[in-house]
Symmetry: C2
């Protein structure tokens, strides 16, 4: 198989489909989403069978239990996929909206119209539900999608993509608006990342290794998500109850997510009261704390934190802890060790809250709320294609609007430039 | 000189300065801009002397007259630089603005705050005024700038940068918010394009060769501007007078600009009337027309157009011409041969106008107005750092807002996720 030629053909078909998708009516796009949901439910036995084939091959190849779990489709997960598509159908269509046209001194009227990005390449790992979730968001935002899932999920992904293409066809939209790369050859990814004439943006969804490879090789923009080293800073003007509740929730509500707190900063003036409560709570929850010297005087049973600890995204029941003099030192710490993902201050002092919001350079900055709120659903985006840790284009949770751009619209009545 | 080390130090200083710039008050930034304008005027003899040194060396090195003209500073051009900075001071400061906070069902309030991109690298060619213009926009939008001008303008650029740094210092802002790369070694550019940890975005300003090199090598996003192959389509429901005025203006008002019309498309139904008027007008203006066979029957004195002609940005008194059946063929032509920069329809038919606006995938789409309007000043951005031909991040003229991003702001009152 000539991989380059194969990928170029996929690219050309995607570009043609993107042009048709860009002018598709909202109703056709919603019809497609609802039809796809129906087809996925109607064909769930086929999906489960394809998935069983993948699971069987994967367990023979020695995939670990966590990977197998991510790979598995169940009737419940299939229902969630269908529900997700129906929810996307209900979201406002961003495409075609024009900002208020403003008249310029020359007499022309100028506004901006929201348009799709074009062709979006999505590279992901084990979870087959990404095939439907990501393609659904791209479809609603008028884009064409090229999907490259994990090789271990190939049968499942092809079965899901077949549902997507049936639904597109039934709604009168081009089936090539969703294409799955049907080879496990890794060169296909390299080729995809070079096809900047056919692919407008790449979204890698997966582990750090994948994202770093994609960022290094892609010849087009990447919406990427690196580390989430999130902080909660308890200011000495914090309400103690809120502080304890937020720090505990930010760490323990879920360990493996990018918006989980990895480091707790506490102002010296409130450290004794706060840690007297939080220390035993974290201990009871089996969270291992690695703290600075000052904190170890208050909680003698915790381990000592190294420099590396402050730079680590544990994604598990471990956290670092540091007592700081106050707001300035907290901000300095976050700037030095953080990953610009999500950081929170707990304080009743409005000026300090505002300084934190303004000066902490993270994709989400919070006052008196758990870092766990940082995601597209909680923010009201309806769904997210990912969380961007970049500043260019979109920052933080990326929903439909992040998959669009704006073009300028100029209306004259015979106006010329003099 | 160890170029890598030299550039890394510039990068580190820029990153530190960017942090201070991000929290700078509007007043301090405006003070700096106004002070820089004063200093540029006060030190114009120094600037002119430095520029004379550049000009002298450049003419000895055999630079052509056009390049020497671009390189030259005059008292008028220095005044324009100072005026430009004062105008930027008057623009609204985008930084720190928060969109309306919306309450979510959980009770948290979510909004977005506009923030700087960080460090912006600008690579440009002969014109020394770019040093002040670009740095001024970056300063107002709270970014730090690393400037790499043409080697032939080094003395001029250093003299202008010195004014910028004096002004920053006088306003209490970090002088390293503007740095000029002081070596002509071309490796410095390669190093700049690799320093993605210190540079958030690159803006190349210059010819196609420069932009292509930067796009190929940069390890960070690039705001880039490629070809402007702009079309005017005269629909058969056009007002003839408007059509003639617009097509003539779009081609002849200035030849060398990216928003100049390069190809005129005329619907068959109006071709005779339109070309009877336009043919002689273009002939009188010494504009060479290269047309399709149908158009040559109406204007026998014009040359024949090749496929290449339709793909060419002439940037001079040459244009291509094609008679099309109607709107669909016009859109197909623009899609096939255009560069997605600026395209215009002249028509009195609202439905056709709307189809053109929606379906033509260009950074500016116009109805009944000259393509020459496509720029930041005409659109009311106040000034522009460039015109983006990409869709990612910013599309079309890029002003202050294009040099910013948005972060999410979440306000709770002890809210946790359940």
């Amino acid at each position: 198989m000539d991989i380059k030629n194969y990928m170029q053909e996929i690219g050309k078909r995607a570009r043609r489909a993107a042009r048709l998708m860009a002018r598709a009516e909202t109703k056709a796009k919603n019809d497609a989403l609802l039809k796809i949901a129906d087809i996925i439910l109607a064909q769930q036995d086929t999906l489960l069978q394809a998935n069983q084939n993948d699971i069987h091959a994967a367990s023979e190849n020695g995939l670990d239990a966590a990977m197998l779990d991510r790979l598995e489709l169940t009737r419940k997960r299939i229902e969630e996929m269908a529900d997700g598509l129906r929810q996307v159908a209900e979201l406002d269509d961003p495409i075609g909206k024009i900002t208020e046209l403003k008249q310029r001194p020359t007499g022309i009227k100028v506004g901006q119209m929201r348009v799709p990005l074009g062709v979006i390449g999505i590279i992901y790992e084990a979870r087959p539900n990404v095939t439907a979730d990501a393609a659904g968001l791209c479809l609603k935002s008028g884009n064409a999608t090229i999907l490259r899932g994990g090789s271990e999920a190939m049968q499942s992904n092809l079965a899901i993509a077949s549902c997507l293409r049936q639904g597109l066809n039934a709604a009168g939209l081009p089936v090539d608006a969703v294409q799955v790369i049907e080879t496990v050859d890794r060169d296909a990814v390299g080729e995809l990342l070079r096809m900047s004439e056919y692919v407008d943006v790449i979204v890698p969804r997966g582990g750090k290794g994948l994202i770093e490879r994609v960022s290094a090789e892609a010849r087009m923009p990447v919406i990427k998500h690196l580390d989430g080293i999130c902080h909660v800073y308890i200011d000495d003007r914090a309400d103690l109850d809120k502080a304890v509740k937020i720090a505990y929730n930010a760490k323990t509500q879920r360990y493996g997510t990018c918006n989980t707190m990895e480091c707790l900063l506490v102002a010296e003036g409130i450290a004794k009261q706060a840690l007297e409560k939080l220390g035993p709570m974290f201990k009871k929850a089996n969270v291992e704390i690695r703290g600075c010297d000052r904190s170890r005087k208050l909680l003698p049973y915790i381990k000592s934190a190294t420099e590396d600890d402050y730079r680590t995204e544990y994604l598990g029941p471990i956290m670092s802890l540091r007592i700081v003099d106050g707001l300035d030192q907290a901000i300095d710490h976050i700037e030095k060790y953080g990953s610009h993902h999500t950081d929170c201050i707990v304080t009743e002092d409005k000026d300090r809250a505002n300084r934190f919001l303004r000066e902490v350079d993270s994709s989400s900055v919070m006052v008196n709320a758990s870092t766990r709120f940082a995601d597209g659903y909680e923010y009201g985006l309806g769904a997210e294609i990912g969380i961007s840790t970049d500043k260019f284009h979109a920052r933080g949770p990326v929903g439909l609007e992040g998959l669009t751009s704006q073009k300028y619209v100029v209306i004259g009545d015979g106006h010329i430039r003099t």
